[in-house]
């Protein structure tokens, strides 16, 4: 039977949400060659194997995710649509493995053209010259007429959450060098806008839902650090989800509108005591700890009503509270295996104790890069996990499965199966977030506008037709 009709949008529980994370990796090639090697050359070598099977340096993968070379010649990985945080963490960690798997081939390719060197890939947000690149979060929200004020209500939270989910790092030089919560905070220039590269806002308001536009909108958050530690990802995305759930249930968030957001985000980042005073529009002056406590208390007050107290929600709230207590007490021990800034700071402080190095010592910047390096053999992360210095949220088996297979409960399942069928049947396909098409197949495009729908007879039929006709062609 051939199914042609577009299925009606599924009616989903309000607590279900589609999440996605987009990570731009810093690409660094170390070599001794005399001639100058461009970033484009290195990115091209890194993606050589991808182009060979995908005929493009911009592909969707069998796990449903997108992998491509971004503007500025560096890899970007966007997770598939996930509707659970564990799927999201597994997909995000799978992305690290997928780009890391390209490194050996890229180095070999460069070696064949006479350039010996090693490729490093950083899941971080700043380079040595003051350039910044992002980790963008996507939250599918129900469409509403007041999106701007809805998103705006989250800004005070987003500006102050770095004291929990910042990746940490040294900012400034000489006597002004200090360890800050978020090196990214110095590179954000606007509260809300539809641009990204030009002005780099905190929330990008471009209306691009990749879904039924009458039902959904995508909240695209740009102000955030790439996370290495899985508990940091859990808290970063999980806390936002809880606040969005409250707003979607018609509950007001505490009014903490910040008078000067750009000044506030920098001052909060630079004060590791969490006591930087932030001027609010209503005249109050609060610390980021107080502001986060108000957000947390608002969520806690809805546990059992708007928000169900699942084990996962408990873990999010527990880490949120312990993080605030740790900053408040100036004793980071309770979170130093869970929150990136605290994990990394422990390494840096111990290094300084052992060597007497100042914070702007290049060896500390080198250590910082090693914390974020996902290239095989170069990064600290696997050893930190193995030694119990970083906690994990998902198992190694889940990550490996997420490298190959899409999440089972969202549209990503359809895309992933389609991409795999294309590879296995040797058929040229095109895919994006909402479209699937077999090249040369009478121009037939399947539109997948419901990100919650994981089953679709049209896709089953298409895959069946590819497999049978593919065998004939071969």
């Amino acid at each position: 039977m051939t199914v042609n009709e577009t299925p009606a949008p599924l009616i989903v529980d309000p607590s279900r949400r589609i999440f996605g994370l987009e990570t731009e990796f810093g690409l660094h090639f170390r070599h001794g060659a005399v001639r100058k090697i461009t970033a484009e050359e290195v990115a091209g070598a890194l993606f050589h194997s991808v182009v060979q099977w995908g005929r493009s340096s911009n592909v969707f993968l069998p796990n449903g995710a997108r992998l491509y070379i971004d503007v500025g010649a560096h890899p970007e990985y966007a997770t598939a649509e996930c509707d659970t945080l564990t799927d999201l963490i597994a997909q995000d960690k799978a992305g690290e493995r997928i780009v890391a798997d390209l490194v050996a081939g890229g180095e070999r390719r460069l070696r064949e053209s006479g350039i010996e060197g090693e490729i490093h890939l950083y899941k971080n947000n700043v380079d040595s010259a003051g350039n910044s690149y992002g980790c963008h979060e996507n939250y599918l929200v129900r469409r509403r007429p007041d999106f701007a004020s809805f998103a705006g209500a989250l800004l005070p939270f987003l500006i102050t959450r770095q004291i929990l989910v910042g990746s940490g790092g040294v900012t400034g030089t000489g006597t002004s060098a200090r360890y800050c919560f978020s090196p990214r905070a110095d590179h954000v220039w606007e509260a809300m806008s539809s641009a990204t590269t030009r002005s780099r806002p905190m929330i990008n308001t471009r209306d691009e839902p990749h879904a039924h536009a009458d039902l959904y909108r995508r909240m695209h958050v740009i102000v955030g650090d790439s996370s290495m530690a899985e508990p940091t990802i859990l808290l970063k995305v999980g806390s936002m989800d809880l606040l969005i759930r409250m707003l979607e249930a018609g509950q007001a968030l505490p009014d903490l509108t910040i008078a000067r957001p750009m000044q506030a985000i920098r001052e909060v980042s630079h004060d590791l005591t969490g006591c930087a005073l932030v001027d609010l529009e209503d005249g109050r002056r609060l610390t980021p700890i107080q502001m986060q406590e108000e957000c947390l208390a608002a969520v806690e007050a809805r546990i059992g009503t708007v928000i169900e107290a699942t084990p996962e929600v408990r873990r999010i709230l527990s880490l949120w509270r312990r993080g605030l207590e740790a900053v408040q007490a100036g004793d980071h021990t309770p979170v130093e295996t869970e929150l990136d800034w605290a994990i990394k700071r422990r390494l840096i402080e111990r290094f300084r104790e052992r060597t007497g190095a100042s914070l702007d010592d290049p060896r500390i910047a080198r250590l910082d890069l090693a914390y974020h390096d996902v290239a095989p053999g170069h990064g600290l992360y696997p050893a930190l996990v193995a030694q119990g210095l970083i906690r994990t949220e998902v198992g190694e088996d889940q990550i490996l499965r997420a490298v190959d297979d899409p999440p089972e409960t969202t549209r990503a399942r359809l895309r992933g199966r389609f991409v795999r069928a294309g590879i296995e049947s040797h058929r040229d396909i095109t895919a994006d977030w909402v479209r699937l098409k077999v090249v040369g197949d009478e121009g037939k495009t399947i539109l997948l506008k419901d990100p919650f729908r994981a089953d679709d007879g049209r896709v089953d039929d298409l895959i069946a037709s590819m497999t049978s006709s593919g065998t004939q062609v071969d």
Partner: protein
């Protein structure tokens, strides 16, 4: 540090609390940090400044 009562914060997981036994986990972690720093010492001492400076990323987003 005062123990938060479970009735006040019903979501708190006792398992999440850091090990409180003196020595034990904290000492093991401190040793692990030292072992890790020993391991990467050669990398850190080797031309760190040149390494860090040579990493420049053209814009994205």
């Amino acid at each position: 540090m005062p123990q938060v009562s479970s009735s006040e914060h019903p979501y708190d997981e006792p398992d999440d609390a850091p090990a409180t036994s003196p020595g034990g986990v904290p000492q093991a972690q401190a040793n692990a940090v030292d072992a890790l720093l020993d391991e990467i010492d050669v990398t850190l001492q080797q031309n760190a400044e040149q390494f860090v400076r040579s990493f420049v990323q053209k814009g994205g987003e």
